[in-house]
Amino acid sequence: MKALEIIVQPRDAAFSIGGHTQPRFGGDHATARDACDRPVIPASALRGALRLELERLLRGRDPASTACSANRAEDEKECDCAVCRLFGQSGRAAGALRLENAVLVAGDGEAAASAVDVRSRVCIGRQRGSAVDKLLGFVETTAPLGGVTPAEFRAAAWLVPVPGMDEAANLRNLSAACAALRAIGGGKARGFGWVSCTVKELKESSSSTEAAADPPRGVTLSFEARAPLYFGYCRPIGYFQPTRTNALGSTVRGAVAFALLEHGLVKGDDDSFQRLVTSASFGSARTDGDRPSATRKRCRPTGQPTSHVTDDLVVDLLRRLAANRGIALAIDPDRACPHPECSRAVKMVPEPFASGAAHPQVRVRTRTALNRQAGTSMDAKLFSHQVLEPPISAENEKTERQPLVLRSEVWGLDATASALLAKLDGRKVWLGGKRSQGMGTCLLRVEPVAPDDLERARKRIADLKDALVNGWAAIRQAAHRDPEPILADDELPVAIVLREPWLPAADAEAADLEGGPLASEKAGGLLGSFVHLAEEGRFGALEASRYGAPKSVLRGEETPRTVVDAGSVFVYKVKQETLDLHLRGWLEMGREGCGEHRGEGWGRFEIRGPESDSDPSGSKNMMNGEEVNYEDPKARAGSPIAIHKEWLVTQGDEIGELAKDNRDWKHQVRTIWEAARLENEPLVVLNLLRYQAARNSGNWRKPADVFTALSEAIEKCRMKAAKDAELAMELIRHLLAYTYRSFTFHSAKNGHDEEES
């Protein structure tokens, strides 16, 4: 894999690259910015522009064969022209070029910021030559870059080896396209986006990891997102492409396999590689807090920024068991939440409401296709896709934001497969789709993972039994009845929660499906279950195919199969001796999955305890006790101007109102304000103020003494700024501006009131 850097040098031009972020400051069209509001050239825009240039160049050389036809139909078969080999063909083949967003870098190589301007534009009537009514628009642009401002956009790029492709030719083509690029983005005709572009080869730093002496059977793959991620979800609906918020096991397996091949660490026909992709079980890559459970609920009526999350397994289970024995428990209308400090009247709601929906920030990006002949936006080709945004710390933030990390557990590794995975540690890999559009770049960390502790599982089971027995005693006491116990002395409750969807094996009996994953494992009777059916299997096999379930669910089967969703809970009643015999096996089954598609992580579960306490701060994930950052508090210090603004505006309002009857004061204060904008020394402003007041005392002292009020306020500005003249001047400028505005309002209102009277 060849590492490159594409350098886009602005030529003293502003940039307006649209369709990316929400406009601010009342603009109609936004320019592309990253999460910290720094201007970027999106990888898709850069890729499109380069592709367009290369097509033009190659078509000019040999119109017939070197570049495929512009605006070809979507259904055309795989193309092997030089352009498609380099840039890929949408929906058919990935190209050799991997590209990231081009970020603005200052002369010293550090990330740079640029102010965002809003430029107005108006349509001119061609007949009258004057502005057309109601066609005023506002376009966001960057400030002009290049020229005296030494800044440039740099995009990391890679040329990955693809069988049958000539890497040297690809590099030549890319260099030619870069050299031909003259402008990028919108408004090129009015001078926006003029650039020169070059490509630079980088030396790739090779990181080699020694194979561990005792290779682990299971590892955790941590994907730290360095670019937006897109995983797809269902088919595109119209021109809208939704994404999942976690990557399926099959996606993780594919990403790992491609990374191994693209980094040249292994060949496709190596035994170790084949064993890795066919025998190991790859789990979904999820964020840390993404552990859904059907009994996990959120208290919704707190009206506070954070609401607490509670796992209601014990209480819900007891209520059902009681109803089975003729004891009714109604929801207390005055106390719907079980948390001791919460007494709200509205019911709990499931949390998270959709599996995996809670944590990563999802953003909708809207793009447009380019017309390859005209080089402009293609009509009716606006499309949107959801992406997961990696959080980026803003420059003024003191604390670093937590990076977006998705973790996947891989089990069933042998020594060679484990060593192969270890080679990817610390390397860049691409996870998910739209890789050539700058998405999916991740830094991969490979760490061994310890299997679940047997004693910990036993403790969870014992705790659950205690909670159930105590709860049942309370119910019996309240109902004044003595129904049969829910658990005998030698019986234990084993609660499992599915971490991944479960597709029962094709030959499973109907009774096994009803009895859950452990039905055929001598786990005893089912005490209760909280089943969520996967959306995948809900409405028949066609839906299953549409929602991304494995195709074997659909293929050649008369009756569609049902998929039980992650988060479903099954509680079994088992004998003590059965538990002793089988617990270790169940833990192993939970790690490596049960049912079908275990290679993609399906059918994994974990044994859980009562965990019925709630956490009022909402900062604790009740499923696994890990700290989860629900909110992102920002500890910030105030800037000097911001701290004094309240005083400034209040003073300005007071002085403005005081001066409202001083009829010609407007021009006087305007003069002082203009002087303050030009001068850098507060004493000069005071000097001018005194001079003006002496010359026009009628305007400054009658009927109200505005002079004294204003000069005192300016003195206070000086005191507040201590010896910092620059800060003092800034305070004085703000004070005069607020005063001027307030005076304008009050004098206009005064006149208006007089007219009315």
Binding site: A330, P333, A474, I475, V564, T650, S742
Partner: protein
């Protein structure tokens, strides 16, 4: 028909079925005696002791509870308008045809209530309840084509028909023990929930299209593109893809030539610069808790009837409001969808321009409906005269609405999720501040962040109904005074600029921002005649501001009540052009 006669009618329908069951169990009783015994059950006095003795340990009757599974997913199974409308229509008909079910399935003899895809029926306890449950489920699933139902049958014994005692304090966290009839009704509800989450339901069988039928490059029905197919021009159903073919075979399409095909076309039915789609999700506040507080048959039935009537009236109101927006089409039915009607839920998909006003009117109509029903002569007043606690709760009943407006290329199922999130925000607001109704709305632009649904985006909207009404009035005044949008945009730009500048102050910046915003706003008022005219109109609308019109504090007061957010909402709202045009009017 007045409320007492409605109540008598309900009583009569329940007594008839139960009386015949009592008489069947004891043939020595004459019809009048059996009727009297049934009356005591209906009026929550329990079964007379002699009749109860006769039943011994045998159940007196049974309650069959049914509830449709995942109806939202079923209705929004496709992005086609016809499919959604047809599915909702099917569900609607099911609730209306419960009487036919009672006639056709032996063992069932009366309806306690039926609404919103769920309900409770009376059944003869002497029949095999498992078989009855299976037959009832088969009947529903046979009628609904693809929708699955959870059905449970709960036998009721003589002690279960006694009046429920006032419950003790909370027994187990948020639950309290109840017995008698109240307990039986709660048990039935718990059993339904348990059955719903304990069963791995089989998906309905798929009907495959004829071999070789799918040959179109794109399905002529849904526009999807099966791979490797040659294009054809024939749009007849035999060329539809398997998915659409399946839906057609299951009659989930509504056959209406004027109905738009896609939701994007629905958005175009009211012509506006922004062809956005609106999704309104309305749900009653604390209705579930109220149902669990009702411990007698007649109360439950009356409550169901009253809620159905109130919400049905609110839907009619939505239709009437929408009629005032029409320009290109003559019939409001052609430009909006009322889905999943029934129970305490209203779901509307309509052009975005009409969504805010429709939602407001729906909520106001629901509140008015509860006011009428709980006042003297109202059905709820007559039914709960002896239960002041429930009556008081119903007097304060209202609803929460989530309104989302977004570009028509957003999938409707996604809008549904966001609208539901907003609706929960509104519910949270209502519960926290003890308000009857609340409304949260949001304009979703193409790149709005979607963390946790839309909750954080809609963190501080004016959720109060009065406040939203004022917002609409302010927007209407802006339209009437021909206020240029650039004037509000300038204010908003300045506000956001200052907000960024004060970002370092954290939450402390709010009061400062309000002062700064007011300072700039006053300056603009002095400079811009149209803005001043609009401000005068705002002062007329809002008495709190109008009372202080002479002083400078009116502007500051307006800002303190959420002026910055208010400006954003105004700009967003006006961008939808949310009022009927003069042509439509």
């Amino acid at each position: 028909m007045d409320s007492s006669s409605i109540l008598d009618m309900l009583r009569e329908s329940l007594v008839k079925g139960l009386g015949s069951a009592i008489r069947a169990s004891d043939p020595s009783l004459d019809e009048e005696a059996a009727r009297r015994a049934a009356c005591t059950v209906i009026s929550s006095d329990g079964l007379p002791q002699d009749v109860a003795n006769h039943f011994g340990s045998q159940p007196v009757c049974a309650l069959v509870c049914f509830d449709a599974d995942s109806i939202h997913s079923w209705v929004f199974d496709s992005e086609r308008v016809q499919v959604a409308a047809g599915a909702s229509d099917t569900l609607d008909r099911l609730n209306q045809e419960v009487d036919r079910l009672i006639r056709e399935v032996p063992g069932l003899y009366g309806k306690l209530y039926s609404a919103g895809g769920g309900g409770m029926l009376f059944a003869d306890a002497r029949t095999d309840l498992n078989e009855l449950r299976r037959r009832t489920r088969d009947w529903f699933e046979g009628q609904s084509h693809g929708l699955t139902f959870t059905v449970v049958a709960e036998p009721l014994f003589a002690p279960d028909l006694k009046p429920g005692k006032a419950p003790d304090k909370s027994t187990l966290g948020r639950f309290r023990h109840v017995d008698g009839l109240w307990g039986a009704l709660v048990r039935a509800q718990v059993a339904t929930r348990t059955a719903k989450e304990s069963r791995v339901r089989a998906a309905p069988r798929l009907i495959e299209p004829k071999s070789g039928a799918v040959r179109a490059e794109r399905c002529p029905s849904c526009g999807r593109r099966p791979p490797n197919r040659e294009p054809v021009t024939d749009a007849s159903p035999e060329f539809w893809c398997a998915h659409c073919h399946n839906l057609r075979a299951h009659k989930k399409f509504v056959d209406s030539s004027n109905m738009p095909i896609t939701f994007a076309e629905l958005a175009e039915r009211i012509p506006r610069r922004r062809q956005y789609l609106g999704y309104v999700a309305v749900d009653g506040n604390s209705m579930g808790a109220t149902v669990q507080s009702i411990g007698d048959f007649l109360g439950l039935r009356a409550f169901s009837e009253a809620v159905t009537e109130i919400y049905s009236h609110a839907r009619d109101k939505a239709w009437a409001v929408l009629a005032s927006y029409l320009e290109n089409v003559k019939d409001p039915d052609e430009c909006y969808l009322s889905l999943l009607s029934g129970g305490d839920e209203i779901t509307l998909v309509l052009p975005a321009a009409a969504a805010p006003e429709v939602a407001l009117e729906v909520l106001k109509t629901i509140q008015d409906g509860f006011d009428r029903a709980t006042s003297d002569g109202g059905l709820l007043h007559a039914a709960f005269r002896d239960s002041p606690e429930i009556l008081d709760r119903l007097r304060k009943a209202g609803a929460a609405a989530g309104v989302i407006t977004a570009h028509a290329n957003y999938p409707v199922r996604l809008l549904r999720r966001y609208a539901n999130d907003l609706q929960k925000e509104a519910k949270r607001y209502c519960a926290a501040l003890k308000r009857r109704s609340g409304l949260a709305w949001l304009l979703l632009t193409d790149s709005s962040p979607l963390t946790k649904g839309v909750e954080r985006v809609a963190k501080s909207p004016d959720l109060d109904l009065d406040s939203f009404e004022r917002l609409l009035a302010e927007a209407r005044a802006a339209r009437d005074e021909d206020l240029p949008s650039s004037a509000l945009q300038a204010l908003l730009s300045y506000y956001r600029h200052e907000e960024n500048a004060l970002d370092s102050l954290g939450e402390d910046r709010r009061p400062v921002l309000d002062l700064l915003g007011a300072n700039f706003f006053r300056y603009q008022l002095a400079r811009n005649k149209k803005l001043a005219a609009w401000w005068k109109a705002v002062q007329r609308i809002d008495p709190e501001i109008g009372a202080d019109a002479k002083g400078s504090d009116a502007v500051a007061h307006w800002f303190q009540r959420g002026g910055g957010r208010r400006l954003e909402q105004l700009v967003d709202l006006l961008s939808l052009d949310p009022f009927p045009t003069s042509e439509a009017a």
